[in-house]
Every structure is written in C-alpha cells, then in structure tokens.
C-alpha cells in the first residue's frame, strides 16, 4: 500500500472513532449501554489514556531497552501537578497545562540524569526508589497540597464548563482520542527518527554505540524525558476525565501492571502497547460488571471472586500466553537487549 493510501486509511479510521458520540447503537456485551452513552464514552476515553500511557512506556522499554520500574511517577506527576495547579494554585486551565508540561520535562530530566548513571537491574531499582519516594511524598500530604490517601478532588467551578457535567463526556472523549493520536504520532515519529534509531542500537549493544562516538547517556536521557513527558500528558487527561487525583496512580504495582500491558500487547511495536493498554483498562472495568451479572453471582465463591479481580486474571492470562505461545515470545525476546545475557557473569 502506498504511503498516501496508508495515511488516508489512518485518517478515515480516526474519523470513524471520533464519530462514536453520534452512534446510538447499543453494543452488548461490550458496553452496558449504547456506544454514545456517557458511561461507554467515559470508558473508551480511559482506554485511550491507558493506550497512550502504555505506548509511552514502550518507547523507553521496548525501543531504548531501559527497564524502568518508576514510570508511574510521571503519570502521577501529570495527575497531581495538574490537580494542584487547578485547585491550590487557582490557575486557569491553559496555565495549569503549561505548568504541568514544564514540570513534566524538568522532573524526568533531573531524575533521569541520576538514574541513568547505572544500567540494567540497578537502573530499574533506582527508578523504583524515586517512584516510591514520590508515592510517599504524595501520601504525606505536604502543606496539605496532595490530599494524602483521600486524594484531591477538583471540585466544582475549577474546570471550564465544556469539560464538566455528564453531557460533556463527549468532549472528554475527543480530548482523550486527540491525546492518543498525538502520542502515537510523536511516538512513531521519534522511534523512526535518527535518535530513535540510536535508541534501538543502544538496546541491542550499548558498547557499540559508544565505539561509534555517540554518547549513549544523552540519547537514553532523551528517551527517558520524552517517554515521561508523554506519560505526564496522559496523566493530565486522566485527571480531566476522573475529576480527581488519587494516590493509586503512584504505586509500584501500577508500573508493573503497565509493564505487563506492554509485554502482552507486544514489546517494541508501538501499536501493540496501545492495544495492550486499551484491552487491560477495558477488562479492568468490565470484569466488575461481569461479576455482578446474574450468571456469575450464582457461581461458588471460589470462582466468583477471582473473576472480579482483574489483576488475578491478568496474571493467569500472562502465564498462559507465555506457556502456549513460546515462539511468539522468542521473537520479541530476540529483539530485546541481549546485553542482559552477556552481563551474566560469563567471559
């Protein structure tokens, strides 16, 4: 297919998805109401946000080969800085966006500069340490800014009217869609650019990149900052949809779930991560409705309760995939950093 046709197809697909708020078809069992009902649009918007977030993670993990355990920190930055800017600092929406964007570049720049001094497992651990520190900071509610474990609600009159109220869910839906498209575009452009190719080279063999005369540290930092920035953007949109900030987004298990999302979908293919993110969020929601359905309620407890725990199902799903699709996994494995193997104490 020639590039023009491909782009045309892409635009048509996006237009189709954007038209959802006018499609009043009920789609059981996918949604409990019509496609254009606020509940369904809300769910889809969240799926878009998670797709974008998973993609941002694929950039550092799948392409640059950096295993970060602290990605949740940057998503949380978007959520919390946005919330604080809008409530405690009483900024208008444009200013809040600007402040969030600035901080979501500076923070990963500083943190990344420290973390990237080490590699592999130590890198993973340091990123985890920073994320834990962020999580603790949020829970301690310094100066009453973050709301501690009760979270921070945006409250009335903080957001412009076109973003609040059930009738305006479609606006949030479009904003989330726009976010996803933008993040995909940026992601696709960045991994195909020359720094993007350097990332992939670093993932394969960092020593070789040094030998060519490039400084891998700077490239890794670039990937880190871009990926974190995109995650923060997703976080901000998440804040708009949810209307409040909650400390759940700062936990280590949140990053790990992200990791599993990306791996399930396919590491190193941007669209795979997006799909993984969307499917996970969708299942997370729908499994609850499933557990309320009469068919499941009558199941004995030992079947009913696990079916309502998305994490449990995620775990089982992942185990099954690894066991029964070993060929597929190997393909992805070969593209990942073989330096891990090389550094295992041999030679």
């Amino acid at each position: 297919m020639n590039p023009v046709a491909r782009i045309g197809l892409l635009i048509a697909a996006i237009a189709l998805v954007a038209a959802a708020p006018w499609v009043g078809i009920p789609l059981p069992p996918l949604f409990s109401e019509a496609l254009n009902a606020p509940g369904s649009l809300n769910l889809l918007a969240l799926c878009f946000v998670f797709g974008a977030l998973a993609l941002s993670y694929d950039i550092i993990f799948g392409f640059a080969g950096l295993l970060s355990f602290g990605h949740a920190l940057y998503f949380a930055t978007g959520v919390y800085v946005g919330a604080i800017a809008l409530t405690s600092w009483h900024l208008g929406l444009p200013q809040a966006i600007a402040v969030t964007l600035v901080i979501s570049i500076i923070l990963p720049l500083v943190v990344g500069a420290v973390c990237l001094r080490v590699r592999d497992i130590q890198f993973a651990m340091v990123t985890l340490a920073f994320a834990q520190a962020g999580s603790i900071l949020v829970m301690q509610n310094p100066f009453g800014l973050t709301g501690g474990e009760e979270g921070l609600a945006l409250g009335a009159n903080v957001l412009p009217s076109f973003l609040t109220g059930v009738e305006n869910t479609r606006n949030l839906y479009w904003i989330a869609l726009a976010l996803l498209v933008a993040v995909c575009a940026i992601g696709w452009w960045s991994v195909n650019s020359s720094p993007g190719r350097v990332w992939q080279a670093i993932r394969e063999n960092e020593r070789r990149v040094e030998v060519i005369g490039l400084n891998p540290y700077l490239y890794k930092l670039g990937a880190f900052v871009l990926s974190s920035f995109l995650a923060s953007a997703a976080g901000f949109v998440y804040l708009l949809i949810e209307g409040s900030a909650s400390p759940d987004v700062t936990t280590a298990s949140f990053t790990l779930v992200l990791l599993v999302m990306v791996v399930l979908g396919g590491v190193g293919t941007l669209w795979g991560a997006v799909l993984g993110g969307m499917v996970y969020e969708y299942l997370d929601f729908r499994l609850v409705v499933l557990s309320n359905a009469t068919g499941v309620q009558s199941l004995p407890a030992f079947l009913r309760i696990p079916l309502s725990e998305p994490l449990f199902i995620l775990g089982v799903l992942f185990i099954i995939l690894v066991l029964f699709v070993p060929g597929g996994l190997a393909g992805a494995l070969r593209r990942l950093n073989p330096a891990f193997l090389a550094s295992s104490g041999s030679h």
């Binding site: 301690q140 759940d248 799903l317």
Partner: protein, 404 residues
C-alpha cells in the same frame, strides 16, 4: 505471532464478557430500583463489611417487602477494591443504571469519591463504613449522609471514657496519613478537658511494618495509656508488638478504630483492649434478635456495627421513599433532614440537617478474654455509654459550608 497473541487476548476478554445480560433501559417507572452496596468484598475490610453488608442490606429490603412504590428493589454488590477511582467509576455506572441509593462505603477514600458522584448525579449516598469527618465537614454535600461513626465520635467516646478515669499521660501510635492525623487531633481535643495529654505522638511513616522500636520507646516513656490510632494491618502489627514488649501489663491499651469481626481473627491478641463502637449485637434484646437472623444467613457469624448500620440506613431510606411517594433525592433529603428516630441500631438518633451527620449514642467496650466468652462472638463488655450530644461534633463547631 504477536498478532495471534493479541487476538487470543482479545478473544479471552470478549468471551469473559459474553455471559453478561444486556442492561435494560430505565425509562419506565415499573423498572426496578437498585440499591448499590459499595464495599470491600475481598480485601482487608471484607469481614467488617463485605458480604455481610450485602446480606444486611438484603435483609432490610426483604423485611420492607421487597418492593417500594410498586417497584421491585434489587440489591447490587459492588466491590470497590479499596480504590477511590474504582469506587467512583462503579458508583457512576450504578447510578446511571437504576441505582437510587449507595450504602456502606467502607474506606474513607472511597466514601469521599462516591459522595462527590452522589452530589453530581443527585442520588443519595449513606456512608456507614468510612470514618473521615471530612464527610460532614469540608466535603459535606446535600446528597450524602454519614451514618455510623467518625473519628470525632471515636475520640469523644473512647478517649473521654478513659481520660475520665484519671489516666492522664497518653502515648500515641499514629500513622502518617490523613486518618491518623485526624484521629490524633480528635483524641487530643477529647481528653484535654480531663487534664490528660499526649506525652508523645510521633507520626510513623507509611510502610512501617515493624513497630518494635516504637513500642520500646513507649515502654521507656512510662505512659498510663497507649493509644493505637491506626487501622487495618497496622493495628494488628502494633498490637502484636505491644504485647511482645509486655506493654499490656504496664498500661491501658486503647484501640482507636476497631470492629467486632476483627476479634475473631486473633482473640488472644485483643483481650483486654478498650474500644469504641456504635453498636453491639448483645446489647439489647432487639439487637440480639436481629443478630440471630443475620447469623442464620451468614454461617453463624454475628454482625458488627457497620453491617447493622447498613440495615438500619437502608430501612430508614425505604421508609422515607414510601413516605414521600418518590425516589427523588431532593424530596427524600427534605424528609430525612431533622428527623429523629430510634431503632435496634441507633438510640436517640437524628438525621442532622446542618451537616448530614446522623448522630446517635456511642458505646465503649472492653474486649473479653477467651476464658470469659459465654457464647460465640460475645467478645464485648459494655463499660460506658456516651450520649449522642457529647459523642458527635456539636453543630456549632461544624466546618460544613451548607449549600443546600
């Protein structure tokens, strides 16, 4: 290869959703009314609310006749998994699909989240499980009521009952998050009129699992009272550490937040502790009768106060709906505000109009050791009754900006 993996994941996902029944439209008046019990079904609070809360609510619906205004009543079980965003999303979904009332809401973060959804959707939420006083303070709203207890009530029942006996030096074990800090503030206020103070109340950082060093420090300080102002696993860990260092023999141990079903998990651990609660099943013949009916449905396990509160609040709401002839939240609120009542759960109770705190008498109990247990689940011994007017925050001190 990867495509096949994704396809299989998708298929698994869709297959899992297949057994769903399509949700009916709710335009017609003959459609059923749903009551959403939003609770923790499988986490740390499952025994104090969980399935018991659902059963209690169902009992209320059945006792009422199963129908109101000619419409069937369906009780939905909603597991919030102790997550604010999850609770919020599910509450939205429930209210959009025929729910007129949300009850239970154990865990303060979820209670606050659902309270704001209730306000958005103009439906009623009655919180029995969560304890944050913000629900009737800074986060108060027209459509939310706080039913069973809050941190102020706990402090002003337990704290007062113990300080009254002349124990003046207190040592606080306080976790470093909103609940802990608000418990400490409330307890400090409550004991102060009796000349008692906290000689020490350092907040413990989040993630502390080993309380040994704090217990040793407490032992060293020789206070008369050790106040455990934490919740969940922290309470168990700190109690275990306290007993390990022999603190239960040296001083009185006051457990800030505690519910009857927790004793069963480790009776030896809790024997001798002092707790406050809003209700106990063996306190009156009416309470016992209700508890026996509950136990018949719950494998012989007797209810705690939150489950009783769920029954009571649901029943009150149903009666209000019948009285005003509509589920319209504004009308129900107008009916409930200012209403006084007494039932097997709450004595001298009132649905306070000013801040939507439902006040009632509170009680202080000692937890009996196994050797004094007369029958199953009979762990509490009443030592003090605190009238509603003293237990709950006086209306004059309310920080609720009433906007309705």
């Amino acid at each position: 290869m990867r495509l096949s993996r994704i396809v299989s994941a998708l298929c698994a996902g869709i297959l899992l959703c297949a057994p769903l029944s399509a949700a009916p439209a709710t335009a017609a008046d003959a459609a059923p009314i749903h009551i959403a019990v939003i609770t923790d079904m499988s986490g740390v609070y499952a025994s104090i609310s969980g399935q018991g809360a659902v059963e209690a609510t169902k009992m209320a619906v059945e006792d009422f006749g199963g129908k109101v205004l000619g419409r069937e009543i369906i009780v939905d079980t909603v597991d919030h998994q102790n997550s604010g965003p999850t609770a919020e999303a599910k509450a939205r979904e429930e209210f959009d699909n025929g729910a007129e009332l949300a009850v239970d809401l154990t865990n303060s973060a979820t209670a606050l989240a659902v309270a704001s959804v209730a306000k958005d959707k103009h439906k009623i939420a009655i919180v029995s499980g969560g304890g944050t006083s913000a629900l009737t303070g800074a986060s108060c709203n027209k459509y939310t009521y706080h039913y069973a207890y809050d941190t102020y009530a706990l402090a002003h029942s337990e704290g007062v009952a113990v300080a009254k006996t002349g124990l003046k030096t207190w040592y606080g074990i306080v976790p470093d998050y909103a609940f802990g800090k608000s418990m400490l503030a409330d307890f400090t206020d409550a004991i102060q009129p009796y000349g008692a103070t906290f000689v020490h109340a350092d907040t413990m950082p989040l993630g502390t699992t080993d309380f040994s060093s704090y217990m040793l420090a407490a032992k060293n300080a020789h206070p008369q009272v050790l106040a455990l102002l934490n919740a969940g696993a922290d309470t168990v860990n700190s109690m275990k550490a306290a007993k390990e260092f022999g603190l239960d023999k040296q001083m009185k141990i006051v457990v800030g937040l505690f519910f009857l079903p927790q004793v069963d998990t480790d009776p030896a651990l809790w024997a001798g502790a002092k707790v406050a609660d809003s209700w106990y099943w063996d306190q009156t013949p009416e309470a016992r009768k209700w508890a026996d009916r509950y136990a018949a449905r719950m494998n012989g396990v007797r209810p705690g106060s939150i489950q009783a509160a769920d029954y009571s609040s649901t029943m009150q709401w149903l009666k209000a709906v019948k009285a005003v002839g509509s589920v319209d939240a504004d009308k129900v609120v107008a009916y409930l505000d200012g209403r006084k009542f007494s039932d097997f759960y709450a004595q001298n109770a009132e649905w306070r109009a000013r801040d939507h705190s439902v006040v009632h008498d509170m009680y202080v109990y000692d937890i009996l050791p196994q050797s004094q247990l007369k029958e199953k689940d009979a762990w509490y011994k009443l030592v003090d009754t605190i009238p509603a007017a003293q237990a709950f925050r006086p209306v004059a001190q309310s920080t609720c900006t009433k906007t309705w």
